[in-house]
């Protein structure tokens, strides 16, 4: 990473720390803010957070790896999470899953070459009455079928 980029990231993290507070209880909020903006929390960002909250970098890493929505590796610009819990499964998740994989040419857990989309599974989204459901970033889509799901994914930038 360039020094300038590092400085910019440091400043940004510092502003998050100022916003949420510099105690341990703010850790998750700060990490969520970084994740929202960059789609991952880089090595450098983790150490900056640790420095500013006066905790150990491994504690930051430990917390990130605990939560499914936080990650330490870069991902696509859009994260698509398909619910794989039983209600969505019974409502036709498998067909949606296959269609999406075929259309994007990637498997779940992977990112498209153009970094547009990362496909992931998630556990129950609380949309069991309207399955199959998926999250695109924080937005939820329900009553999917193979065609609508693919259309949604093709529309996102």
């Amino acid at each position: 990473m360039l020094v300038l980029e590092k400085n910019a990231l440091s400043d940004e993290i510092e502003s998050f720390v100022n916003q949420y507070g510099n105690d341990r209880a703010s850790l998750l909020q700060i990490l969520q803010a970084i994740q929202r903006k960059h789609k991952y929390v880089s090595d450098f960002a983790q150490q900056e957070v640790a420095r500013l909250l006066n905790i150990h970098p491994v504690e930051v890493y430990s917390v990130i790896t605990f939560y499914s929505f936080l990650c330490t590796q870069p991902k696509g610009r859009n994260i698509v999470r398909l619910c794989r819990t039983i209600s969505c499964d019974m409502a036709g998740k498998d067909a949606v899953e296959d269609a999406v994989k075929r259309e994007l040419g990637i498997s779940f857990g992977e990112t498209t070459k153009d970094k547009r989309i990362t496909l992931e599974y998630t556990n129950c989204l609380g949309m069991c009455d309207q399955g199959p459901a998926m999250l695109v970033n924080e937005k939820v889509y329900t009553h999917l079928d193979p065609e609508t799901a693919v259309n949604i994914l093709n529309e996102i930038k």
Partner: protein
């Protein structure tokens, strides 16, 4: 938003008439003692699934001696098949927030925190806007509705995709910036909760119920439901039925009645209480939904004759293997062993001796795991293997009976 209007059946309690801030006004008139009295009289128990008496929780926190106290609204609705809190938060936020203000007033807390699951981030802006409006109407902030010295504020914190954070002590750890690993209990949150201060953690629906109880009285609430399970309950119904959705039904409704209401046909099994609940076969459909019989935090999943119960069970166990926090042995390793057992059955490589060992292991997990997750994750394993023996063990694994047509 792409969510459709949810099928909803209103009932006489949660979805009964209630005008905004009514509960807060009434609470301020009543005073703490009376609120606790009504709450106790109502017999309200925690709606998240564990069923701890709400009045007791509040009294313990109210009695605790501390310079700060907290109210936490558990909106980490993650139990597979549960979505009633989604409806409450989207359509009835006033019931929930009023309940928090009433709780703050009653136990002497100045801060309320809503722990909203990360999956519900799309609700965040609407909820925050609603809180802003409450501020403007002096339903939050300083000297609420003119009551000198009654200050209370609510903030919303997001989860980040961890089912176990619905466990109240894991939720508190998460709020404090740690991994969502449940704590040793005792001490309980009512004594040592968020940041070490006495804390009430209540489910969304519990707080919504409180608002009604304060306005309409504990006796009114108690008229509904059964002796041990008072009031009514929101059930999130999904799976094989024509009318999935959220249903307010009195406790004591039988599984059979519920199936009729939601128009379910050819039902083979009903999973009551989500992945951590129990699976009820056809022969037991006269069982009733209540704390004393088939307890549930609201999740009802319906399976018709075409479903493969082993596959259902596998889906549940995969969920637990991934969502266990991983700190305690019975849950971390135990769930993996149960899943491996299911895979062995799938491959037809099992022995009954081993399956019996695993059921015994499940019983150990129920009593030796650190928190509710590990204590309840074997429920579906045990109940499905017991109740669907014929289908699972006496067939070729594809639903075809061995040697039978």
């Amino acid at each position: 938003m792409e969510i459709e209007k949810t099928n909803k059946r209103t009932g006489p309690v949660i979805f009964s008439e209630y005008s905004r801030s009514e509960g807060i006004k009434k609470a301020l008139e009543m005073g703490r003692e009376d609120i606790l009295f009504e709450l106790k009289g109502s017999g309200l128990k925690g709606r998240g699934g564990a069923g701890f008496p709400t009045a007791t929780k509040w009294m313990l926190t109210a009695a605790a001696n501390a310079d700060k106290k907290f109210i936490v609204c558990n909106a980490d609705e993650g139990e597979p098949g549960t979505f009633k809190d989604r409806i409450l938060l989207l359509e009835y936020p006033h019931l929930v927030f009023d309940g928090m203000v009433i709780a703050g007033f009653t136990i002497g807390a100045k801060t309320g925190i809503v722990y909203l699951r990360g999956e519900y981030e799309y609700m965040l802006s609407d909820l925050e806007e609603y809180l802003m409006k409450m501020h403007q109407s002096n339903l939050l902030g300083k000297n609420i509705l003119g009551r000198q010295g009654f200050d209370f504020d609510i903030s919303i914190r997001l989860g980040s995709g961890a089912y176990v954070c619905g466990e109240e002590t894991a939720l508190i750890e998460s709020l404090e910036g740690y991994r969502g690993e449940p704590r040793n209990r005792p001490p309980y949150p009512v004594n040592t909760g968020y940041m070490g201060y006495p804390t009430v953690v209540n489910n969304v629906e519990t707080l919504a119920s409180v608002s009604h109880i304060v306005v309409k009285g504990g006796g009114w609430f108690k008229k509904h439901g059964t002796d041990k399970s008072t009031g009514s309950k929101l059930f999130s119904v999904s799976g094989d039925c024509n009318k999935p959705g959220v249903y307010e039904l009195p406790w004591g409704t039988s599984v059979k009645e519920l199936l009729e209401i939601v128009d379910a046909k050819n039902t083979k099994a009903v999973q009551v209480g989500g992945a951590s609940g129990t699976c009820i076969p056809k022969t037991q459909f006269n069982r009733v939904l209540a704390y004393e019989d088939a307890a549930t935090g609201g999740s009802i999943m319906i399976f018709n004759e075409s479903r493969n119960m082993l596959k259902v069970l596998k889906n549940f166990m995969e969920f637990f293997v991934e969502e266990s926090c991983g700190q305690c042995t019975p849950c971390r390793v135990g769930n993996t062993k149960l899943l491996e057992g299911i895979e062995k059955i799938e491959r037809r490589e099992f022995t009954f001796a081993h399956i019996n060992n695993l059921k015994e292991l499940g019983r150990t997990m129920q009593v030796a795991s650190k928190c509710g997750l590990g204590q309840s994750s074997p429920n579906s394993f045990i109940s499905i293997l017991e109740n669907f023996k014929e289908e699972i063990f006496h067939t070729d694994g594809k639903g075809q009976s061995n040697g039978k047509a």
